[in-house]
């Protein structure tokens, strides 16, 4: 309700009660206000209502100031507090109403009467009380913009001498707290490992730390943990992914500004501990191709969007929230009702990030006759433009955000890090940095120390972790409002989804693998994201990686590299999976640089003598595949929704094929040179080559087999979208998440109790810990073949030692699985007695066969009557060939010629095994794991010991030991722990709050 519209009540309505209480003078009769306490509601508000609310209503908020309610009045406006309780002379509102110049309030109206002015000044000097019987108001907290290093207070306690501790010690002493003792070494170590690396302390390291009697060992531990760049980066990247809303393999099909991952850049920035101000500048002003432009691009869906959600407005909201702790969401649509920010503020900030110099304002999606040009939220930091070019505006924004006079930027980030480490911010809510810190001096000291250290995030974390303050006992989270909060120590925190899954993997030695994804051969269809998750242990491998040199492959969910085969040199194959993955396989791969695959970039340079293959494309991003004989400088872009390239066959040189849904290329055949083939839904290409092969055609036939890239063992953050991680609170990163929902819920507990992911993981993990996980068989054939592209490529494998054959076809995320019609083309067994067609044998189970009496038309095969076995898209055919004397199995993976329309594809992986494989581990991952394997456990006692030390950071109590040992005893084999018992013990311990909480 707009109070100004209230009908004035007759004065005598107030007088009886008020005078009887002897408190106030009636409204409008306050000729001697000093004689009593001014009543805000009756006297002060009446002045505002009559004279000020025309402009300073909650709706209009001229200058960001509303005078509609008491809280609004004390809140102030854009220029800060309007009222300073007890100090009318210092109050802006009094200065403005008594001003004599053009800015005298009310602007354009008659000045306030002396009586009215008297009411206001007296009220303020009396303490700006909300009611006569309430206490004087405390001055509203006003977050300062500049940053000055505060003087260090004296510490009341001898050992609290670090600068940080001197602030908290004096704070605690002021609040009547006696000098507290730090937590135990074991508790400290568990905290520090989880906070720096996201991993539990390995038992041997923990025991060594506990046994260490030297002084300063905690500080040394923190330094040592921080010095492992990779482990630090792979923990903190989850936090920054949430905050910068970065994800892999997520696309909403915007036709103008598709979502773009910044994972490569972010991981590198964390690994190298890039100074935070440089990092902010890069995010705001990406200039190089490797810069993180995905942050400003934002989250865009296909089709038209609300004016408040254009990329530029999203950039305004996100840069303000993430870097400055300012919420511009409301006022991206209309002037905010809850803060001082106006529509124009959001548009002015957005104008730094737009291609347009001026942005037209839209109020609730309705165009206004008002335009905004670039201007900063805090005008005192505005700088003149060198030019209005888009690049210069962005560069200017980067300069303003990182201006040393902008204390808001370092305060915001140190408060975030503090909150992540301590559970609650010095300013809580960390996204609203106008809020009052419980210790402004501490916040400012941390921020200025951070700046003095060159915006060094690791140094900041080190400073906090080495303080006595961090080493205080944890306190329960109460969530009380700011006013009632007293800092007493860090809060109990829950393990994040990634910390939980990394703990399971570390304890069991059983890591998930992410598979690098092959380029989208079909060059059709929407891109897709997310690496395929393969769980399980490594097999004995396939002789991979014998002589990789300087392989810098990036792949899997993030990056992963595999240089396999003869002599890969400097293979740099970003791509695959959700991020970048590279596979340089075969002989003599040099400088293969194949970004592409999956949703990001992935490259495969396979075959012989691949040089400088640079094949962005595949999936929704870029993926490249240079396969076959001698691909040189193959630059194939296209595939899927983005760009993907395949240069396959003899000797493509400089093949630049763009084709696919957007652009993707398949330059295939014999020796295309300088082929520039653009094809698919986008542009058609023409691989040109020696011998005239494939000239003028949109695509050639792939001549080399397409291998399936092996996976890479990875930490939890790389694993996209597992039910377990989602249940444990990993968010959908469409919004900025500065904190996660760590609540325990029934849905989450159901996943933990009942989910296949964790159950199966622990099944394998327990066996792995006991050294009883059987080695995975190695496939005889592993190929990707997609419908509609290329002729079947034959294989011929030795089966002289084989008793059974497993012919497996797996879907590889087809968009049209209902159209799939995979084939084993011309499968034959060769023995001394000649050739036996596979169809002469009956599989043990015929469920995988596809019954269809019609004639088979095979993609890429002109001849009729080529025999083939029809199988389902997901099928396992098992043949018993024992004792039949076969020496070779020949055939080819293929597909029936089925009509596929735009957006449809059928992608299948074909495998031949001669022992039963794990279906989730058909391709052996690269054997490297994030952590070295633990010892193989032999006895019940040592197993119990190991679990308690690793999971909980302590020895079991006698009672616990008794219960746990009973669970591990196996009546069948008394000397060895039971694998099922171990899985159940692991689960039981992991379900306890002691495991899941960081205390």
């Amino acid at each position: 309700m707009i109070l100004g519209k209230r009908r004035p009540r007759p004065w005598f309505a107030f007088t009886v009660g008020a005078l009887a209480m002897g408190l106030v003078w009636p409204e409008r009769v306050a000729s001697q206000p000093e004689a009593g306490l001014i009543d805000y509601t009756r006297q002060v508000h009446a002045v505002f209502a009559a004279k000020c609310l025309v402009c300073h209503s909650q709706e209009k908020r001229s200058g960001g100031l509303s005078l509609a309610t008491y809280a609004d009045v004390l809140n102030g406006g854009r220029s800060g507090a309007a009222v300073k309780p007890g100090n009318s002379g210092g109050s802006l509102i009094v200065q403005r109403i008594t001003d004599t110049g053009a800015t005298r309030m009310p602007i354009g109206g008659p000045a306030l009467s002396a009586t009215d002015i008297g009411i206001l000044t007296t009220w303020i000097d009396q303490g700006a009380r909300s009611a006569p019987n309430s206490a004087p108001a405390t001055a509203k907290w006003e977050a300062p913009l500049p940053l000055e290093r505060p003087a260090l207070p004296d510490s009341p306690w001898k050992n609290w001498s670090d600068p940080l501790d001197r602030f908290t010690a004096s704070y605690l002493a002021r609040h009547g707290v006696a000098e507290p003792a730090p937590v135990s070494d074991a508790t400290f170590a568990r905290r520090a490992y989880l906070d720096v690396q996201g991993l539990l302390p390995p038992p041997d390291e923990l025991r060594a730390f506990l046994a260490d009697n030297t002084t300063g060992k905690r500080g040394k531990l923190v330094s040592r943990l921080l010095s492992d760049n990779q482990k630090y980066a792979e923990h903190w990247i989850s936090y920054w992914n949430d905050l910068l809303r970065n994800d892999e393999g997520v696309t909403y099909y915007s036709e103008t500004a598709g979502r773009k991952s910044i994972t490569d850049w972010l991981l590198a920035a964390l690994v190298s501990n890039k100074p935070y101000n440089e990092w902010v500048a890069k995010l705001l002003n990406p200039t190089e191709p490797t810069d993180p432009d995905g942050f400003l691009i934002g989250v865009n869906w296909r089709g038209t969007v609300s004016a408040s959600q254009t990329p530029a407005l999203q950039a305004a909201q996100n840069t303000a929230q993430v870097f400055l702790g300012v919420n511009l969401k409301c006022n991206s649509c209309h002037d905010s009702f809850i803060s001082k920010w106006k529509l124009k503020d959001a548009y002015s900030l957005a104008a730094y990030f737009s291609s347009e110099e001026q942005l037209r304002l839209y109020r609730c999606d309705i165009a206004q006759e008002e335009y905004a040009s670039a201007g900063f939220l805090f005008p005192e930091l505005d700088r003149p433009f060198s030019s209005l070019a888009a690049a210069d505006r962005r560069a200017l924004a980067a300069a303003i955000f990182t201006d040393p006079r902008n204390g808001r930027m370092p305060r915001t980030v140190v408060n975030r890090i503090w909150q992540r480490l301590m559970g609650r911010g010095i300013v809580e809510n960390v996204d609203e940095m106008d809020g009052e810190p419980w210790s402004p001096e501490l916040l400012d000291w941390l921020a200025s120390d951070f700046v003095a250290n060159g915006y060094d995030l690791k140094a900041l974390i080190g400073t906090i972790l080495q303080s006595r303050t961090y080493q205080l006992s944890a306190v329960p989270r109460k969530g009380e409002p700011e006013k009632q909060f007293t800092f007493q120590g860090p809060e109990f925190r829950r393990l994040s989804a990634e910390q939980f899954s990394d703990a399971v993997a570390a304890i069991t030695g059983e890591w998930h693998a992410v598979a690098g994804r092959a380029a989208n051969l079909s060059g059709r269809g929407g891109g897709r994201g997310g690496p395929i998750v393969i769980s399980g242990a490594p097999s004995d491998g396939a002789g991979l990686n014998p002589a990789g040199r300087g392989a810098d492959g990036q792949g899997g969910g993030g990056r992963g590299g595999l240089a396999a085969g003869g002599a890969a040199q400097g293979a740099d194959g970003p791509g695959g999976g959700g991020g970048r993955g590279g596979l340089a396989a075969g002989t003599a791969t040099q400088g293969a640089d194949g970004p592409g695959g999956g949703s990001g970039r992935g490259g495969i340079a396979a075959g012989t003598a691949t040089q400088g293959a640079d094949g962005p494309g595949g999936g929704s991003g870029r993926g490249g595949l240079a396969a076959g004989g001698a691909a040189q400088g193959a630059d194939g872009r296209g595939g899927g929704g983005g760009r993907g390239g395949v240069a396959a066959g003899g000797a493509p040189q400089g093949a630049d094929g763009q084709a696919g849904g957007a652009r993707g290329g398949l330059a295939a055949g014999t020796a295309p040179q300088g082929a520039d083939g653009q094809a698919g839904g986008g542009r058609g290409g023409a691989p040109q080559g020696a011998g005239g092969a494939a000239q003028g055609r949109g695509r050639g036939d792939a001549a080399g087999p397409v291998p399936i890239p092996p996976g890479t063992y990875a930490r939890g953050w790389r694993i996209a979208g597992s039910n377990l991680e989602r249940a444990l609170g990993r968010p959908i990163r469409d919004q900025v998440y500065s904190t996660r929902d760590t609540q325990a819920t029934a849905i989450q507990a159901l996943e933990l109790v009942n989910g296949e992911t964790l159950t199966h993981w622990l099944w394998r993990g327990a066996r792995n810990m006991l050294g009883e996980l059987p080695a995975e068989p190695v496939s005889l054939v592993a190929r990707q073949a997609n419908a509609g592209r290329g002729a079947p490529i034959p294989f011929d494998v030795d089966v002289s030692q084989s008793n059974k054959l497993y012919l497996i076809v797996q879907d590889s995320l087809s968009t049209a699985p209902d159209k799939a019609a995979p084939l084993w083309v011309q499968p034959e067994l060769v023995g001394p007695g000649g050739v036996t067609p596979l169809s002469a044998l009956t599989p043990i189970d015929t469920a995988g066969l596809r019954e269809d009496p019609s004639e088979i038309a095979i993609t890429g095969v002109i001849e009729k009557d080529v025999p083939a076995v029809r199988v389902k898209l997901s099928s396992v055919l098992v043949y018993d060939i024992a004792g039949k004397g076969f020496t070779h199995f020949k055939g080819a993976p293929g597909h029936e010629a089925v009509p596929l329309i735009q957006g449809e594809n059928v992608q299948a992986r074909f495998f031949v095994f001669d022992r039963q494989p794990s279906m989730d581990r058909l391709v052996p991952p690269n054997p490297d794991k994030p952590l070295p394997a633990g010892p193989v456990l032999k006895t019940v006692a040592e197993t119990v010991e190991r679990i308690y030390w690793y999971a909980l950071g302590r020895a079991p109590t006698p009672g616990e030991r008794r219960v746990a040992e009973a669970a591990l005893r196996d009546p069948v084999r008394p000397s060895r722990p039971s694998p099922d018992g171990l899985a159940d013990l692991l689960w039981s311990v992991m379900m306890t709050p002691e495991f899941q909480l960081i205390r």
Binding site: Y253, G303, Q309, G526, Q735, A744, A816, G903
Partner: protein, 476 residues
Amino acid sequence: MNAEERFIASKFTRRGFMGVTTGAALAALAGREPQIVRAETNATADSMIVLWMAGGMAQTETFDPKRYTPFEPGVRTERVLSTFPAIDTSVDQIKISLGLERIARVMDRGSLMRTFQGPDLGFILHSRHQFHWHTGYIPPQSVAVPHIGSVIAKTLGPKNPTVPPFISIGQNMEIGGETASIKAFHTAGFLGTEYAPFLIADPRDAASAVRPPADLGSARFTSRRRLYEQILAQQPVYQFGGDFQRESMIRAMDTADRLLTSPSAKAFDLSLEPKKSFDAYNTGRFGQGCLLARRLVEAGARYVEVTTEYIPFRYWDCHQDGHERLTMMKKTIDAPVAQLILDLEERGLLNRTLVVLASEFGRDAITEGKVGKEVRDQSTTPDVMTVPMHYGMHRHFTAAGSVLLFGGGMKRGFVYGKTADERPCTTIENPVPVEDLHATMYQAMGIAPDHSFVTEKRPVYVTKDGKGKVIRDLYA
């Protein structure tokens, strides 16, 4: 009390749990299956089932038939309004499309809304329209908006505390191209994971969702639970004895365990359904999903959604061969939808259960989007149909779509809204935007259209700006 309840009770009293407990937990402590809780008093329904026709259900081929034109080579596409003849229903003035005979016989149990309006979002993306339909908001949004199932779960809570209040059946979350965008709205958003959907991708696996994992078996499942209790009991109580976080984690584990071991868990097991009844539903995954929805509502589910499943270019999303495809789709839905209505009625549940059958938009052979707001074409429909592949509604039409509303206080045998009988067959009376449809659905559950939640200090309303209008005409 049995041993487990004693255990729970001892735990909770020892650690001061009673101070923070809930009605459900108290009921569980009292050693009985919690009672079914009624919704708000002005509600006309306690439960809701949404039957989701994912991918754009062609309205002129289903519930809003127009002039039938049989296929013959050379027929002009613009002439073809319906590729199926209309059939009579149990309500005199209502005709629907051939292939929906069983639903035709239950039309007297519900209302048919023919004028649902998809929003104008430019170049069509199914999952974006589905996001909008399921949240009331158009992505992207600056806050994570919740699914209507989460809104209902949050506002009304579970009806039976051992049955998750929001169950989503039939949507596989890894669907290739639009995987991320499907996931984007199957979420409770800012309401928190507590109100997230309980996902059952395949109703045939529903029992396994509440059964001990296959690797484990039920004997080990029980002994593992006992081990957990012993481990927990043996753990030294640290200085955070009464911590809410700790207690809520233990409580969540207990709630999950209770669901798995409670009588309600049987509702998930379709093998317990008599064969005759099972067969009446069993047209495949969707049909079994409808059966599962009925069983869950009987057990006290609050909000259940069953989808035909969205996968780009499959099911209702036909860009060619539309006639053929819809013949199949109608076979998939006809029997189970009708049986669901009849079963709910027979069990006395239809009065208090709102069943809504809907889709993100309709389809047409000519218009993409709306007339006057046509958008980029995505189908290659020729002007003249030469082969059966061309015969069908292959474009995305947002100017009219059909919605069925059964039970839960809705009128019976009633049609709302009118569409033109000639192309573009657009809405000519009573257009219904999603906020009005939602307002009507929420109102039935006793939730006001301007009910709101506060996030980041601002209100977010259950219908856009709190302005969804309840369509009173639909209420009996």
